[in-house]
């Protein structure tokens, strides 16, 4: 009984710490606006990006050459996105307030992916410019 209680408390604490950690990683990018070039490439017009766009934005980011600087951050946010999706599926039916919160969080993840895509586009343009100049 005590062990089961320890397990439940540990999992609750683990989720809380992990969610806060991922939010601290995302927080740095949320203040940055999505550039016009990303909006042009993706066709996204709304100021707030729909959470469902996350996978497509990451796929586009994968097409660009990577500098290796954002790999760990993307992996952490992807794990967070999956966790949120599962959380929404499981608890959304029973707790309506959770749905709007998860939608907001998924949108933040998509925003993060858009910024990551923007960085990679800039990186690949920089590479191309270097090759052309040499």
């Amino acid at each position: 009984m005590t062990t089961a209680l320890i397990f439940v408390l540990s999992v609750v604490a683990l989720l809380q710490f992990f969610i806060s950690y991922c939010r601290s990683v995302i927080a740095a990018t949320v203040t940055q606006p999505v550039s016009d070039q990303v909006r042009e490439v993706t066709g996204i017009r709304d100021p707030e990006i729909d959470g469902a766009e996350f996978a497509r934005l990451l796929q586009l980011a994968r097409l660009c050459p990577e500098s290796g600087k954002d790999r760990a951050r993307i992996a952490a946010v992807r794990a967070y996105y999956r966790l949120l999706s599962v959380f929404r599926t499981i608890s959304g039916r029973y707790i309506p307030g959770v749905v709007s919160w998860t939608e907001r969080e998924l949108s933040r993840c998509a925003h993060f992916a858009a910024i990551a895509l923007d960085r990679r586009i800039n990186y690949s343009r920089g590479l191309m410019a270097q090759q052309l100049s040499s």
Partner: protein, 231 residues
């Protein structure tokens, strides 16, 4: 988990632990977070020596058994002091470092005493039982103290991003360890829980390395933006 994968994780852990120290030196944060870096240095050293002991004497040998438990206890004590150093950082402006140091020693003494009273009935290998129990208790207290520290960070509106991320990653580490321990007790025949410590041994150096490498010392973040409560 296959033996090859186990060894690969082992080496990767040691490399990442050394990587944390390198990142901290590069970011000029080595001395600022010395107890954390000292823990990573000792952890990498023990990871390498553990592997050497394993290769020389084998997994079932008493040499490996003793080295594993004694080194784990020392590492847990180092991690406990690293956690206390984070406390000192958070309460730095209040000038409470001395009280935190005294408090840390008192808590460690109390946990040691409790661990001794729990294992004093053991007839043989009393010291080994003691170090194993001490290590286990420190993990649980570590989890509780990290939770208290996170509450203090939120209450005091701490904004240093480096500090926030170091505390949060330590919270993930301790709570995952506590969860995997509880699973091991509930389902002793299952091997699922054994993955927990492997993943966590990679998590902490990865998260700390990322913080030192990517987060500038002056970066600020409002804690209200990272708390997990649904609004």
């Amino acid at each position: 988990m296959s033996r090859t994968l186990e060894f690969a994780v082992w080496f990767l852990t040691a490399l990442l632990q050394i990587g944390v120290v390198v990142c901290a030196i590069r970011a000029k944060s080595f001395l600022q977070f010395f107890p954390l870096n000292f823990y990573m240095l000792v952890a990498s050293l023990f990871t390498i020596v553990r592997f050497m002991v394993l290769v020389k004497f084998g997994l079932a040998s008493s040499q490996y058994f003793y080295f594993y438990y004694y080194s784990d206890a020392l590492l847990t004590i180092c991690l406990f002091f690293a956690l206390m150093a984070l406390f000192a950082h958070v309460f730095h402006e209040m000038g409470a470092e001395t009280y935190i140091r005294i408090g840390a020693i008192l808590v460690l003494g109390l946990i040691s005493a409790v661990s001794y009273f729990v294992v004093r009935q053991a007839q043989d290998q009393m010291l080994t039982h003691f170090v194993a129990k001490l290590s286990q208790n420190l993990y649980f207290i570590g989890a509780v103290i990290t939770y208290v520290l996170w509450a203090a960070v939120r209450k005091m509106h701490e904004t240093r991003t480096q500090l926030i991320q170091l505390v949060l990653s330590l919270g993930v580490y301790f709570s995952a360890y506590a969860a995997s321990w509880a699973l091991a007790v509930i389902y002793p025949e299952s091997s699922m829980w054994k993955f927990g410590p492997y993943i966590m041994s990679l998590w902490l150096p990865l998260a700390w390395g990322y913080t030192f490498l990517k987060i500038p010392e002056g970066a600020r973040l409002a804690t209200a933006r990272v708390t997990a409560a649904a609004r």
